[in-house]
Symmetry: C2
């Protein structure tokens, strides 16, 4: 009848709380002490389930990737493999937007991430429905993944401190950033001036989709342009 002096954990609970921590305050916020505090236990207990912080991050990202795979399990049976590829990668983008920390650690193929490997494979399976050589397929998927990761890294950048301080809404802050481009020397930075207006109103998803469609168009052309 004496109240529990000790807390009991589980790998699931640890990952759950780790993901929550990452979602709330980003990757640097995931510390063993913060996590232990949330779990109501001691720091060293976490090491029973996980060998290091790196492994914790690996397992957390793979957990998220697993959920994403479940949520998009229906994709991959459409008539147009390129359209399926597009849908999968857009889902990946959406998740990265929801969880900026996810993108950065996604590609760490440490062997401890079976679900990341599975996502890679599912993308590849779509290219197997296209008239390409194995080499072309490998290059295509690698390029798509690299592109996604690059966008992810971009979006994972925390907003600068001045933004957090200003309390401005994102759109307004973007405008302010564009002004900074317009203030640059036009001789040295002609392109910055040329696209400042565009930059001021751009939408991340638009930009992502446009690059993605460039890649997919190239892949489709390689495959002989079958399909729409």
């Amino acid at each position: 009848m004496t109240g529990r002096r000790r807390v009991t954990h589980s790998l699931e609970a640890v990952l759950e709380e780790a993901i929550a921590l990452l979602d709330e305050a980003g990757e640097p916020a995931l510390t063993f002490r913060a996590l232990a505090g949330r779990l109501g236990g001691g720091v060293a207990s976490i090491y029973w389930y996980v060998a290091s912080r790196d492994e914790l991050l690996d397992r957390a990202t793979d957990e998220v990737m697993g959920r994403l795979l479940e949520g998009t399990a229906d994709l991959g049976e459409g008539p147009d493999p390129v359209a399926d590829l597009r849908a999968m990668l857009l889902a990946l983008f959406e998740e990265m937007r929801r969880r900026p920390w996810f993108g950065t650690y996604m590609l760490r193929n440490t062997g401890l991430q079976p679900n990341s490997m599975l996502m890679f494979d599912r993308l590849g399976q779509q290219t197997m429905r296209l008239d390409l050589t194995p080499k072309q397929r490998f290059h295509a998927v690698s390029s798509l993944v690299s592109y996604v990761v690059g966008v992810a890294a971009d979006m994972a950048q925390p907003p600068p401190q001045e933004f957090l301080d200003s309390g401005l809404e994102p759109a307004r802050f973007l405008e302010l950033y564009a002004d900074r481009w317009r203030a640059l020397d036009p001789e040295r930075y002609p392109f910055a001036h040329h696209v400042a207006d565009e930059f001021a109103v751009h939408d991340d998803e638009d930009v992502f989709r446009s690059g993605l469609d460039l890649l997919l168009a190239g892949i489709r052309a390689q495959a002989g342009g079958h399909g729409s």
Copy 2:
């Protein structure tokens, strides 16, 4: 005539030594204490030149980017803007291969990196020679940069510990990695099996070039396919 009790530094010397440290042992090796040791002085002295570790990394990357810009200053005047774009991005890739730490911190547009902005602009200037809308140009450059960054993030991954321990040469280790793909369940990972042979002999630069050419082909098509 009394020997100097104090060491004198300079921002140049600090960055020089920081870059050397990064080159030799990667990003985690850049600590204030290691840097101070190399400079033969105290830790706190570095803070006279740099406000934080982040700023140090920013300045180091920007320094490298500056040298890269100098080294490729001749690019941008060729007859084919797409070919110039390609050459610039290949130079960027080469630098990332030489300095894995460079890629990861390249895109941090913190405002403290004028040379990164200049590189961005020089890429954009090439698109201004193409028949595109400003929006298309902005998207094109953004996509290209994202792609480069994604590849960079991939290559910045340190080789796993087992590789360092094994003492195997890279090619042999790649083969060993491919074997691991081949050991996966063929039902679940058909693509991994399909491209395992390709993966075993792949060259990073090949893969990079192939994705890059997909993007550039798409951009050229948007511009109406002028040029070769």
